[in-house]
């Protein structure tokens, strides 16, 4: 086992657990239905909208909420209470806000575990095959979720400084 694996795996695992719990609870509240963690990854070949939030503090990490068009339109309507076209600025607003709501919930769980995290403003990107170019010293983990309208995914990317702090106790 390499040094990188020894240091990174528990942190990414801990965060992935928070992300899973937060997403299940938050989206269930918004969508009004129970969703499931899906073992299969989402398709990269359809129109998507992606909300990205970064966190700074003890932990440097980013969250990418990637919603295919059909899921985005459905969840946006349930969140806002009115229909929102996929191509509109309002859709970008909602997806940024959804990423923000999720990140807020996750950062509260982190704080309860003794890890401070400050949220940055969301960035929203659209298109097929949206890939975030990350520096080499980050570890990523993608979790897929299934709603009745389709699947969506959340990727977390964790930077090194926090890993160093944790390994040092």
């Amino acid at each position: 086992m390499s040094q990188q694996e020894t240091v990174d795996k528990p942190i990414i695992k801990e965060l992935a657990e928070y992300v899973g719990q937060s997403t299940l609870e938050t989206f269930a509240m918004i969508a009004g239905e129970q969703l499931e963690i899906d073992s299969e990854s989402t398709s990269q070949d359809e129109d998507c909208i992606t909300g990205i939030i970064s966190m700074t503090g003890d932990l440097t990490w980013s969250l990418l909420l990637q919603l295919p068009k059909e899921v985005a339109v459905d969840i946006a309507q349930k969140f806002a209470g009115f229909e929102i076209p996929f191509e509109s600025q309002d859709m970008a607003d909602v997806v940024g806000e959804l990423a923000n709501v999720l990140s807020g919930d996750i950062s509260a769980r982190c704080e309860a575990a003794g890890i401070s995290a400050n949220l940055t403003l969301p960035i929203v990107a659209r298109g097929k095959d949206v890939i975030l170019i990350l520096p080499g010293d980050v570890t990523t983990n993608t979790i897929s979720f299934a709603l009745s309208t389709g699947k969506f995914s959340i990727t977390i990317a964790v930077g090194q400084p926090f890993c160093i702090r944790k390994s040092g106790g």
Binding site: E97, N100, V101, G104, S107, A108, E111, S116, L119, L121
Partner: protein, 145 residues
């Protein structure tokens, strides 16, 4: 009761959601002013006509928490209630807003109309009492009392 509320959020959708939810609470008859960030909020805030402020935390230019600090430090006599409406859920942030900065209530997103109604009822009772007192004072002065 008529209420003039200032809603500050960088997301137009969120401003509309806050406004619509407030109308549905039926706690008052609302008129709204809107601002896109803390700086814009300071420009739109009028201590004489604004009855209550709803402000997001994370915004460009000036954050919601800085807006609260600014209002509380520059208008020391002003008792206009400020409600944070935010995704920030950690205890540290809630304490910072309510105990240190001077916000009066804290609503976390996503919210329901019922949740908003429950959190805001005490504040609206205070606003109603304040408005009644002002009206009584006005008529008392008019009658030479």
């Amino acid at each position: 009761m008529k209420i003039r509320a200032l809603v500050i959020d960088d997301s137009r959708v969120m401003r509309n959601m806050v406004k619509e939810s407030l109308r549905k609470t039926e706690l008052a008859e609302f008129e709204f002013d809107e601002a896109e960030d803390g700086n814009d909020g300071l420009k739109k805030f009028n201590p004489k006509s604004t009855d209550i402020i709803f402000v997001d935390w994370n915004m460009p230019n000036m954050t919601g928490i800085d807006f609260v600090r600014k209002v509380r430090s520059s208008h020391k006599q002003c008792t206009v209630p400020i409600v944070m409406v935010t995704s920030e859920k950690s205890m540290g942030k809630i304490e910072e807003a309510l105990d240190k900065a001077g916000a009066n209530a804290y609503i976390t997103k996503p919210f329901t109309v019922e949740y908003m109604q429950r959190k805001l009822s005490p504040l609206f009772e205070e606003i109603s009492a304040k408005q009644s007192k002002q009206t009584t004072g006005f008529f008392s002065k008019l009658m030479g009392g």
